[in-house]
Amino acid sequence: MGDPTDSQPRIRDGMRAALPLAPSPILFGLSYGVLADASGFGAVAAVVMSATTFAGAAQFASLSVLDAGGTVVAAVLAAVFLNARYAAISLTVASIFPGGKLRRLVESQAIVDESWALSGKRGRFEWPILVGAGMLFYVLWIGSTAAGTAIGGVLDDPNALGLDAAFAALFLAMAVPYLRERRARQAAALAAVITLALTPFAPIGVPLIVASAACLLGLRR
């Protein structure tokens, strides 16, 4: 009743809104840390990547390409293509960030799929929700990555445990929400065919990169 926080959320409201989703970055961060350390990516590199890239799918993607014996170029491109969506996402919230360019640069790093979705829940995008939720996820993501790398050293051959298949399950689960749209299903099917067709002929990771061309289906009317 007349409380200004009713209409103007604060950073801490964003953190509170993000709390129910907290188990997800914790579990993913742990598994990323475990896999990164066990596959020889390196504990410090994994934690630094969580602090700079701060995007789960891309981090798992580059890790899985390297782990499978793919080239650095393929690992980088797979992650960069996955994260290109953040350019589009950041456009949708471009106008809500206050302050100068440096401040906007720093605060825009709070954009992840979940913080972005939470920030738009009330019909318009709200900066304190996005930044508050993003900050909570950021701290949890880095902390759980570090914790995961500490556990990871215990595993000597992660692939004997079937962690390569766990990667596939993760990517599949992440893809499912996109596949509700027909255009996305067609493009994904084309990408699967391209990847399979090139696998016998091209070095590891290359089929993946060529398959990204399937997104050009988006140009069709």
């Binding site: 890239t53 799918a57 079937g162 699967a192 990847t195 988006g218």
Partner: protein, 102 residues
């Protein structure tokens, strides 16, 4: 240094730039519609290509091994609306089991 650090540096810089693109550079403009629809398809396309690579990928060959059983089990788990972490655990466990038996 090694390949991991090259990945960390390049992916990090690219991702920071992607996230900052809207708030720092673009302001209130939006992407042209055809560019937007291509970008929209990038995530599902790359994710499915990764699924195929992780399931059948070998060293310049298509490999059908224990992973296929694990991923198949994960498909069922996801179809039954299991949490992602459960689906990953199912995939890992089934794959490990098949490897143990085979």
């Amino acid at each position: 240094m090694n390949s991991a650090w090259i990945v960390v540096a390049l992916v990090g810089v690219a991702t920071i730039a992607f996230k900052a693109a809207g708030p720092v550079l673009i302001g209130r403009r939006s992407l042209p519609p055809h560019v937007q629809s291509v970008v929209d398809l990038l995530a599902p396309v790359m994710l499915i290509a990764l699924v195929v690579t992780q399931t059948f990928g070998g060293d310049e060959e298509i490999t059908v091994d224990a992973r296929v059983a694990g991923v198949g089990a994960a498909v069922v788990a996801i179809w039954l609306r299991a949490h992602v972490i459960i689906a990953m655990a199912v995939a890992a466990a089934v794959t490990a089991l098949v490897r143990l038996v085979a």
